[in-house]
Assembly symmetry: D4
Homo-oligomer: 240 residues x 8
């Protein structure tokens, strides 16, 4: 908008042009191709509820405008379907993160995002966060299996916590880890509740509420199992 | 039942006798006078929703059978009404615990119950637990304001934790403290969520769920704000 | 901490040593090998969400430091995978409790933990509690199918209730049994709500709320279906 | 409808007549004056959210068609306002039940409705049930303060339970009493959860869920604190 | 209890005898064989969560003491397993009600229970109610597919409503039918919410709440999908 | 936007102009003065949480651009404060609707909106709907106190239902009325749940769920107690 | 009712006739054949929980009275079963909408209903709405994949929004689109929350709550995933 | 820890020293005086549930170690009590933010935090966020009353959005604003749901869920009404 040429071109026309550009209409999805510019990173495809063909098609269009495109919660089957369709692009499947990466991750990564995980079962969500942040250019470190039941394990790693620019903490069940981490160091903490647990964990609700009520300031929360969202936000802060 | 005399006395009669004894009928409340024997401690009056006259009357009857009788969530007004009615008994008001004590607390207390509190606002519930345990003969120690936002404060007190026979942990907001405490020492932990908090604490629900999902074993939970129940159970365990 | 040698060794070094010891890093899980000492019992593996390989690997490491290691909510398939991997250790599957036991249960068991079950469908949770307590050295008795709809069945067993040092009560649906049991005898009661029921039982929520609101004091509650947690806590109290 | 005369009178007219009759339009409320016939008992005024003038006006109109008219959840102030307006009618205030009775309760009452109450604080709801049933012609007995924490108190009264035609059980907190009562005798049980309790009682929700999940068949439940509804239904069953 | 012979026999012995009798211990379930006497009808087996062998075994024991025994929520497979085991008894499967009947339904049925169903999908629950009431000796009529969206359909059947001694109303989705029915006639209404619906029906919660808030008195509610409970209670009222 | 002159004026300038116009900045609130044009009706002030001075100031600004401005949930005190400030404008208080009207309601009203109310206590919400629709130019009819407990009352008024262009149905407690109304006639129904009720009505949640699950199509729902929203939407449909 | 001939025919008879007519009893379902007249459109079959045979039978009966009959949430299997049974009728399956259409959609469609969809995964619900409205005679336009994360996409289409007579907005996850759309134009908006999302979307609850709280007036909400209800209501408004 | 002198000093002593320092014990609260160092900012007092004397005493101690100390949710009465006690310190009350500031806000503020508010009633929470960030050294800009019902108002301010380093968005009711804002610019967004709303807003729950489900990545959420937490985190990110 700021770049519109002043002068002869009329408002109506300018509007027309703008209208014409930013969408690439695929029938079932409008790929917002200006988004990479406007937001610094393209949209990412969330796979559940979409057909393999739809996913492949959206990724293909996104890959045309961007050096890297992502798909989250992808099954190996979807990956194979995508790989078959996008023959011209490098396509990789990161199974720990359940993600498809089209294109190449940035080589040079900067800052430092630390992804801390409470338990072994929380790893897929944590990897989704870590890989997303890496795809957006962040240097990422991982610290795994340091739940609050053995709080001294967290404290042992205080130096790692202090060196991070932003910390993502992934925890299910009771979800108390973000509060403990945030109480130890002066760094922004992005908390990710996971649906790991049973009974009164109510599929992650307990961890979500715990994190929202964190008595230590400097903690904000994303949706249950939303590793992508946490990694995205962490990368934004890391780059800020 | 074990004491019934065998022989001449018929079943019907024995039943009659049992029927006649254990209740003292006050019209609005049946005071279970055998309870002191059966359960080791008389019933306790929960004040909200009862008139001062009802409370005084129940306490009077209980005091006749027991060396100490308690009323919880009592206001100073109720205390004064009770004190006016029970002129023959020593009646004291513990305002930090919002409790009325009729009779005298046991002098000789044994074992060691540790009551740990996360924040200043949780103190009334913690005091209710502590005083109840004392009334039941337990030696009680208190550790206050050691929330997880400063987890090193908890760790500093590890020795006190280790010396307790049973630990009561009182916490509102996110309620993560019981898990941290339980992870540090091999002692039974009774967790009391409090209604301290706002927003998504939902009047203690968040803390309750956190505690039920504690990833460290050895933790059990009582109702929100139920300091009395926690103190009672702790005293039972302490005496066991 | 108390054992650190004073004198020549510097703080930094002492810290280093402590850092070096207590974890055995398996990549995906940090096994807390000091925990047996610190807490009296090693960690237990909760199987859902972990691969058979991960479970076997964690159990193997735990078995190296402890005479007995447990895995809960284990399928027969996982058991077979574990048995194949841990050829040097005795490995048993207790299908009523859905648990894997690596090593040998303590021969000499002390005290008395009573596990009371409301209905036939609650048995797997009850067995998880019983076996856990046995693994921790407790003598365990079982009392099954004594729900409140036939309250005289409970009363018949009052002697068994009175002889226990601590009572675990497992119940689904309405979850009223712990309150009735606790009202009969002066013993600590650990209540375990189960997800048995339908409709407004909301997968155990109804039983959970009932137990938290137990009008009889001396009752504390663990998570829905958490037989392990109840057995663990009961064994702690039993040993106290 | 069954009484309409066949013959000359046309459908349209018959409809007109029916239309003309059953309502007495007060502007803010249509009093359904045929209801006494159709349903055996007139409507009852629920006071909260209505002005004293509205309540008095509705009661006046109802009293013109019926020997007795009721208002529930009435304050003493409302009673006085009603008494001032309805000078021609006997108006009484039953404060234990918080009800206004216009007219005279039936002298001759039949059958036997037993109203059982768990705790002292549940009494207002129980009295609302009892008085409503009496107003509808039922003989009513009361059994108070027999909560499940002392289950032997309930059992003592088994004969009273057996003699009732229908039993109303009023309980707050955990709400386990209806299940225990229903398990003892072969009588229909109407369960009334009350909002008595705190914390995880969630204003009666816990008791409501317990009662809905009663493992003993023969129990049905009305709304929280709905003594009127329970008394009404009990009287219907009692008269059946 | 009332029948105990007075005289020589001692209390202890009498108690022993009582103890010995009423249970038939099957290891996994205590069949309460006195229940038929005490409650007028034997216990009924709820199948989910039990093995076919357990179900067959419990039914066999129950059939020995009673002319008819029921199992609810039974699959055809379970039926076949039961039929194979109980070769001596008549065993039938009612697939509309998903119930197994061991023995013969009473020939002579009395009173009149009307089972009203809102929609086609609610039929299995309605049939469970109807068959249960028949097994307990009630004459049962059925009225199907008369939901409130076509309220005139209900009104057409007012005579059938008036002739019933008690009415069971089964409805999912919004659950408004019991209130409409109860407003038309002076009969006790037992409302059964079903889990039929989607979205904000929350598996029957919406219908449950609607029924609990029924503005017409004379309605009580059982658990979601609990046709058995409604039929049982209706039969009790019908026989009263 | 459609009116922008093509030609000389540049995009930047056009944007500037648009930017300059539509807001009137009051410091604490941006009054959207173009809204009357864009949406056909100005914004309405929701009073709770705003000071009298803020309300008066916003209304004053709105009245300058529109013939009528509204404030909802207004107390008489706020009305008096507003009347004192807006001396130049006609200001009226409609206490049945708890609304302030600045300016004059349209004389000529068209179409036909029918506002149906279940109970006397629902009237304030119904009046808010009716007055809002009138202020937007709709002819409004009212039908009061026709709850489903007396469903024949609704049926009597079928002609009025049929003559409406759109029907607003206001109901608390069980909220079944919209479904019944919608089942009778082929008209769009806007359902408004109210917070009238107690216990398991959960402040209107029960009525809300009932309405969302209405088995009769042609029903849509607004927020609990949102008479304004229903009246607004009804007026839009009425004018369509 | 208005058409009943006055004169000879008696009330009783008229009632009989009316009684005889409007239902076609299929045993398991009463097809309300007058409904097409009374409501302008026949009932629609909701498939889940019904057998293919039941669905075919109901559709057959409906098709005899109406030019078009619909079944929602139909699988391809059900479609094939229906097509085999209804050989005389044109039967089509619209897989994007998961609907069966028996008969022919109206050729001439009037007005303009705009169906706006937030994301690709919401399309089935949106198509259900669109097809329903078309079956009821509405001209329907579709606007897809215009979620609020790229709010400029919505604004681009303001002209389409302005030209609609009524707008259906379908959105999952956060459900914010209806509010944004309603804020842009003066048209009635029917909001349809979908169950698309994960974690704290709680199967559509989050979107439902968002829409009910829409700060822009002129929005009403139907049940989660209820495309049919939204399309039906939109067609009613469109025809009004 | 990193600063401990190596050499002569023994581990035990070092630990002792550390232990001695960081707490200042006030009896009811342990002020964590090292926190300013460790976390970059001292603890803040949350006033509700604490007495004026407690608040004053904690603030006094904190002010001794820090140039600025804060108290949130403070009433004017509490302010006056604090001002009377802390005579040596500058004490100010910011009533728009309901906060007490002891000491002086930093003069030199850096970066740029933008606080965006949806509606007038959300202002107190927004001011709490803004003032907290200022106290921590951030330059803060405010943008008020730009709710999604007039989404063009947000778009107008895109430049301000783009210039911010981090954006705090405060919104009640439906809470859709953070998603819209985040979709426009590539900046981290901290979303604060407020309890502004009624009915199905459930005291902020609706807004909270909306924000957690934000379909635009780059959004994280704090507790309902937690302006302080948002401002704190924003300042951390701003300084990073």
């Amino acid at each position: 908008m700021r770049d519109v040429r002043e002068g002869r071109i009329t408002v109506g026309r300018a509007m027309e042009e703008v209208r014409g550009l930013p969408f690439e209409d695929l029938g079932f999805a409008k790929v917002d191709t200006h988004r990479g510019l406007r937001r610094g990173f393209p949209e990412v495809v969330y796979c559940p509820g979409k057909t393999d063909a739809q996913i492949a098609s959206i990724l293909e269009r996104m890959a045309a405008d961007s050096s890297v495109a992502l798909a989250t919660r992808a099954t190996p089957e979807t990956y194979r379907a995508v790989a078959r369709t996008l023959k011209e692009n490098p396509v990789a499947y990161h199974d720990a993160a359940r993600m498809i990466v089209v294109g190449t991750l940035p080589r040079k990564r900067t800052g430092r995002v630390l992804v801390v995980t409470a338990g072994t079962s929380d790893l897929p969500v944590a990897e989704e966060a870590a890989l997303t942040a890496e795809a957006m250019g962040a240097r990422v470190e991982r610290l795994t299996d340091v739940g609050v039941a053995g709080v001294h394990r967290v404290i042992e790693h205080r130096r790692a916590l202090e060196q991070a620019k932003v910390i993502v903490v992934v925890a299910g069940m009771e979800g108390a880890l973000p509060s403990v981490v945030s109480g130890l160091v002066d760094r922004p903490v992005i908390a990710v509740p996971t649906s790991v647990g049973y009974g009164a964990s109510f599929d992650g609700l307990a961890a979500l509420l715990t994190m929202l009520n964190a008595c230590s300031p400097g903690v904000a929360v994303v949706n249950i199992d939303n590793g992508f969202g946490a990694g995205y936000l962490a990368a934004q802060i890391n780059a800020g």
